[in-house]
Each structure stands twice: as C-alpha cells, then as structure tokens.
C-alpha cells in the first residue's frame, strides 16, 4: 500500500506498463526532461530513455498520426495531449484514423493507443486549458472513452487502458491531480475498465458524475445527508461504452436522477444518459431527469469559472427540484 497523489498513481501506472511491455512508448510535448507540465511523467524519461519516453515536436496531429504509424508496427503508444483545448488539431487523426482502422481493415489492424487528456477546469488557468471535450469522442464509434476520479482508479484504469487492444481516450480530471489516497499498486483492479462504480449508496436520488465532478457530487451528498436526504452517487468511470445497467438499476430504486458534468449541457454527455434512462426507467421515474453542467458558453475567464462549474449548491438545487416534483 502506497500513499500517492492522483498524478503519482498515473506515473506509477505508466512506469509499470513501460517495465512490463517493451512495446509501450510514451509520446507527448514536454513529457521527457520536464516530466510533463503537470509532472505526470516525472522521471520516466530518465529511467527508460528518450526513445521510450519521447519528447515530440509541438504538433498534436503529428503526435497522434506518428503514434498511429508506430502502432502499425506493433507499438503501444501512450500519448499525452498537454491540455484538453489542444486536442483539436489531432481530432482528424483520432476520429478518422485511430478510431476507424480496425473497422476499415476488417479487423486486420489494431490501433491500441491510449490518449491521455488532462481535462476540465477549476485550476484558474487561461483559455483552452479547462475544457471538457469528452462528448466529441464518446460520439465517435471505434473509441473507448474513460475518466477516473480517484488515485486508485487512475492507476488501475490507466493500466487497463494501455493493455486494451482498442484505442482509449483517457480523460484525467486535472484539478484532482494533487488528491492523495492510499493505493495498492499490486492488487488486481476490482472492476472492469468500463464498469461504473457506486461511490455512495443512497435511497432518495441518484446523482451520476464522472471525472472532476465526482468529488463535487460526493460533497453535495454529504450536505444532503445532514438535511436528511439520502443521495446515491455513481461515478460513471466509462462514457463509452456506458454502463447504463448500473445507472438504471439505481434509478429504478430511487426514481430520481441528477446528472452532472463540467461540459456544457446542450448536446452534452448527460443528454445520452437522460435519454437512455428515459427509455429504460420510464415507469420508475418520479421526476424529470435533471442536468447540472457548464453553461452553453465558451469556457469563461477563470475569475468567472466558479459560476460556470457545477458546485455542491447547484447539484443540491437540482436534487431539490427532483424531490419537489
């Protein structure tokens, strides 16, 4: 058992993947000598060399496109996109090449890339450093999209993602990088990569969150408990595929659902969950599904992000609306 930060858990996951599989390489901007702008890859280049922990030229399409080429030769690249808002230059390589090659070639070619993207806000940064682009990728067939919310899941899910034969978009809630927990790096993962986790059982309302909003939802549930309301919190962990079974089972018990994410609500991932719960739990629902997300605006300047990001109050307001219905 080791006390580690979220970032440290990711670092250990990559270290062990590098140790266990000579075909694993890390690629990205500033990940080598610097150890990444968040230090997630700290010391790995020193220990594994510049040909396994590769400081690439500064071009995101180039990173993903060349990683794809390496994968065609049997490599298993783990790419870091420095910030969420920097992934768009690589969008074509991800959705047109990485996501589709297995289908295109009738299963003859794999692209087992893991694409790590620090995402979400709450760190007081400038434009393009706080976005939540997960819906674009969850909408793309051929990709798997996951997001851990704890150091333990960060470790195990990254190991699982790297080992997976399909491409995985791995969203890291950057404001949780400094969260600490005790993690057993030698234990087997307790869940498959694409299973949701009930983080807090409850009876009155189900709150579904992922990534950075899981901790917010848990804080809201603590406050609700003081007010005598029992909130069940589900950490989705995987967006694609979506473990709708765990969500539906919960909603059938509580009859009420609140979904929260940082991304804008319109066309956001919450809409997919709401639609599926509508299909599968219609006769159990006691209230309309509530969504709590970012406003439908470009990510605001950091002095305003506290109004934009879902917080406990906004989640509790939605819980109240759900219970009042």
């Amino acid at each position: 058992m080791t006390t580690t930060t979220f970032a440290g858990a990711l670092n250990t996951a990559m270290r062990r993947a590098l140790e266990n599989d000579p075909k694993v390489v890390l690629m990205g901007e500033d990940i080598g000598r610097l150890g990444g702008v968040f230090r997630v890859t700290d010391t790995l280049q020193k220990d594994f060399g510049p040909h396994r922990v590769i400081d690439t030229p500064l071009a995101e399409s180039g990173i993903i496109g060349t990683a794809f080429g390496m994968a065609l030769r049997g490599y298993r690249p783990v790419c870091e996109i420095q910030f969420d808002g920097f992934v768009y230059p690589a969008f074509d390589q991800i959705v047109s090449q990485v996501a589709k090659i297995h289908y295109r070639t009738g299963g003859k070619v794999l692209a087992p890339l893991t694409i790590r993207i620090p995402f979400g806000g709450g760190i007081g940064s400038v434009e393009h450093h706080s976005e939540s682009p997960e819906a674009y990728f969850a909408h793309t067939a051929g990709l798997r999209v996951v997001s851990p919310s704890t150091p333990a899941d960060a470790y195990h899910m990254l190991r699982q993602a790297i080992a997976a034969p399909d491409p995985v978009i791995f969203f890291e809630p950057k404001r949780r990088y400094w969260d600490k927990a005790v993690v057993d790096f030698d234990a087997d993962p307790d869940l498959p990569l694409h299973a949701a986790r009930v983080r807090r059982p409850g009876a009155d309302v189900t709150v579904v969150a992922y990534g950075g909003t899981v901790a917010t939802a848990l804080a809201a549930a603590d406050i609700a408990a003081e007010e005598g309301r029992s909130v069940e919190v589900i950490d989705l962990r995987s967006l694609a595929p979506l473990d709708i079974g765990t969500v539906a089972e919960s909603v059938r018990r509580t009859g009420r659902l609140v979904i929260t994410h940082e991304a804008p609500v319109f066309g956001g991932f919450g809409a997919e969950i709401a639609a599926r719960v509508g299909e599968q739990c219609f006769y159990h629902l006691q209230a309309p599904v509530q969504r709590v997300g970012g406003y439908d605006i470009p990510y605001p300047p950091s002095k305003l992000e506290k109004y934009h990001l879902p917080d406990s109050d906004r989640i509790l307001d939605a819980v109240d609306r759900s219970l009042a219905a």
Binding site: H51, T56, P57, A59, S61, G62, I64, G65, T66, A67, F68, G69, M70, A71, L72, R73, G74, Y75, P89, D92, Q93, S96, Q97, K100, H102, Y103, R104, T105, G106, G107, K108, V109, L110, A141, G142, R144, A164, P165, D166, P241, L242
Partner: protein
C-alpha cells in the same frame, strides 16, 4: 544528417513545373534541384545525366521490358475499373491515367520489406506490390472499406483523408528505426496534399527524428479543380530544404528517372541517412475521380501537351530505339493485361454484397455492449422482414 551538398543556391529561379524537352543538361545547373531529373526524352532518346543514369545502370533489357509491362498493366486495369464505374458496377474510381511511370518507377525502387503508405490513386503501386487485380475494386464498389491485407502486401489500403498518411509513414519509419530494422517507408501524396498540415508536420517530425521515410509527391498539377499554383508559390521539392532534408524534382513521366531518384532516396533511408522528398512532375490525364468533370476547369490544349509526354509511349520509343520492341513482346504484354482485366471484371461482377451483420464486425477488437445490442436489434428486424 541531411545531405547539405544537395541544397541548391537560393538564387536559382523557381521551377514552375514545366518540363524542358532536351537532350543534355544545361550548363552550370543541377538536375533535380534546378530542373527535373530526366533520363528518357519524350522521343525515347536517353538523356546524358551520368549521376542519375548510374543509379539505374543495372536496368537491362529484361527490366526495361518489365517496367513497360507493369505500366501497361496498370493503365489497362485502371481503364477497366473506370469502365466498370461507368457501367454502374463501382460507386467511384480515382483514375491514375498518366501517372503510370511515377507509380511503377517508384514502386520498383522498393524492397519487399519496405512499407508503402499510399493515398487513394496508387493502384499501380499496389499491382507492383503484388496485389491481385481482382482485389482492387472492393472498396470502390462499396463491399468493404478495404481492398487487401496490408500486412501481407506491406502497403496500407487506400487512404482517403488527404495527407494523413504522411504521419503514419513517419511513425512507422521511426518505429522501424527503434527496432533496428533497416527498411524504408514511402508516403505517396499529391500536390494538393502538400498543403495539408499533416504533411508539414510529417516533414518536421521525420527530419527531427531522422526517420527512414521517403516523401513521394506526385505533382499531377491538379487537386480536383485547383491548379498547383494555388497550393504553392514555390516548387514543392524546395520545401524539403526548409525541413532539413534533400528535395529532388523528377520528370514523373520518365519511369527510369523516377526509379533512379527513388532508389537513391530509399537507399539513403535504409542506410540511416534519414528522410528525403521527391516531387514527381506528372499529370492526371483523367478526372479526379469518376465523379469529376475536368472540362470545367482545364483546357484541351493542356491535355494535348501532356499527352505528348505520355509515359508509356516514351518507354516504348526507347525500347524501339534500342531494338527491344517486337510484335511478340507487344502481344505478350497485351495478353497479360487482358487476363488481369478479365480477372478484375469477373471478380467485380461476381462480388457478393456483404451480409447486414457485417455492419457490426470489427468496430472494436473487444466486445462492446452497444454494438452487441444493435447487432441483435438488426437481426431481429431482418428476421421479422424475411
């Protein structure tokens, strides 16, 4: 490190893609940088260029005839596929008419373990790599998204996103370098693709990594309706120098010249010398694809000018001049092409449509609940209909 000796003097006027028809090199200027490398004139006479001729000195009568045979095969198969599209058997076909020398010459420079990253017009390269003609139409008919097994051929399937494959070739080449494998990759792309950011990034990454990749640009002068001057204010090969790799311009309708310069670039890559850029000046004699109408944007006069530089006629004239041409050879070449076209036509006409269940095959390598659910839904719906 790039071979700095090949970097041209900046004072040389930019070459605008016109091909001098001449027999000897202009004095004081260098083939490949000041004007395109040429080894066969349009009338079939050899060009005096000792440096580049030496690269193909081993190409004797048999290999010359083989190059001719492969070019005719490519042309006939391409015309057959175009005809199949006109007859409603293919959804689309991108004709390579006019580009046979650029493709066959470069493909003949490759070793079996080199890896080809193509665009979508390289059917002639695929044939030279050993792809059976009957496989070429699968994706253009809509029966699948691919034609052949890439690993078996050492060549990717047609890539439709313009320029994306430059990065794939670079990544593969870099991986080969890490493996210690002495191979080259070659990325085929066009003058239009040269404007794509992915090609720019690929040139940058390849140079930074000294990756064993050959960037083979077929400048066929037209990106659908946009002439090459829309893409670039400078000869495309010149761009290579800015990235730190040699760039060379070659007469892309001269199969020997293309073979020579590609051999040079492949040898350099395989020996650890890093990337190179080849601009093969050629011409797309047909439409961009069968859905295009080039009469809307280019003149008959331009077409006639390039018809006089036809790559197959040119090699035939050389064979005639060197007494390597006879009716028996011509008949043999024709029969081989006839057989390939018959194979292609038969395979296309008898190609079964994939079953509806194929919709869901290989979306993921591992089972995916949504895909499995939708597979069952379609099966149920199909069952209800039948």
């Amino acid at each position: 490190m790039p071979d700095r000796a090949t970097v041209p003097a900046p004072s040389a006027p930019p070459h605008r893609g016109t091909l001098p028809d001449r027999g000897a090199a202009p004095r004081g200027r260098r083939p490949g940088t000041d004007y395109p490398v040429q080894l066969i004139q349009p009338d079939g006479a050899r060009v005096l260029d000792r440096e580049h001729a030496a690269l193909v000195a081993d190409i004797g009568p048999d290999r010359l005839r083989e190059l001719y045979r492969d070019m005719v095969l490519a042309r006939r198969v391409d015309l057959e596929a175009t005809a199949l599209q006109r007859q409603g058997q293919l959804g689309l076909w991108p004709p390579l008419l006019g580009q046979e020398a650029a493709q066959v010459g470069s493909a003949h420079a490759l070793h079996p373990d080199d890896y080809v990253f193509c665009s979508y017009r390289e059917a002639a390269v695929a044939l030279c790599r050993g792809v059976a003609p009957e496989l070429l139409t699968r994706m253009w008919r809509g029966a699948s998204h691919h034609c052949w097994d890439p690993e078996a051929v050492g060549m990717t399937n047609p890539n439709i996103i313009v320029g994306a494959q430059g990065l794939h070739a670079t990544g593969y080449a870099y991986a080969a370098q890490l493996d210690g494998a002495e191979i080259a990759t070659i990325a085929y792309f066009g003058d239009g693709a040269s404007s794509q950011g992915d090609i720019a990034e690929a040139l940058g990454f390849a140079a930074s990594w000294s990756a064993p990749v050959v960037f083979f640009c077929q400048n066929n002068h037209w990106a659908i309706s946009a002439p090459v001057r829309v893409q670039s204010a400078t000869p495309l090969a010149r761009r290579a120098y800015g990235y730190g790799m040699p760039g060379i311009q070659v007469d892309g309708n001269d199969v020997l010249a293309v073979l020579a310069v590609t051999r040079q670039a492949v040898a350099r890559a395989r020996a650890g010398g890093g990337p190179s850029f080849i601009e093969a000046l050629t011409y797309r004699m047909g439409p961009h694809t069968t859905a295009d109408d080039p009469t809307r944007y280019r003149t008959a006069a331009e077409l006639e000018q390039w018809a006089r530089r036809d790559p197959i006629d040119r090699l035939r004239r050389l064979l005639e001049r060197e007494s390597l041409w006879d009716e028996e050879f011509a008949a043999e070449v024709g029969e081989r092409a006839d057989a390939a076209c018959a194979d292609l036509r038969r395979a296309t006409l008898t190609m079964p449509d994939p079953p509806p269940s194929a919709l869901f095959e290989h979306v993921y390598a591992e089972p995916h609940p949504l895909i499995e659910q939708q597979r069952r839904e379609l099966a149920r719906a199909e069952g209800a209909l039948s």
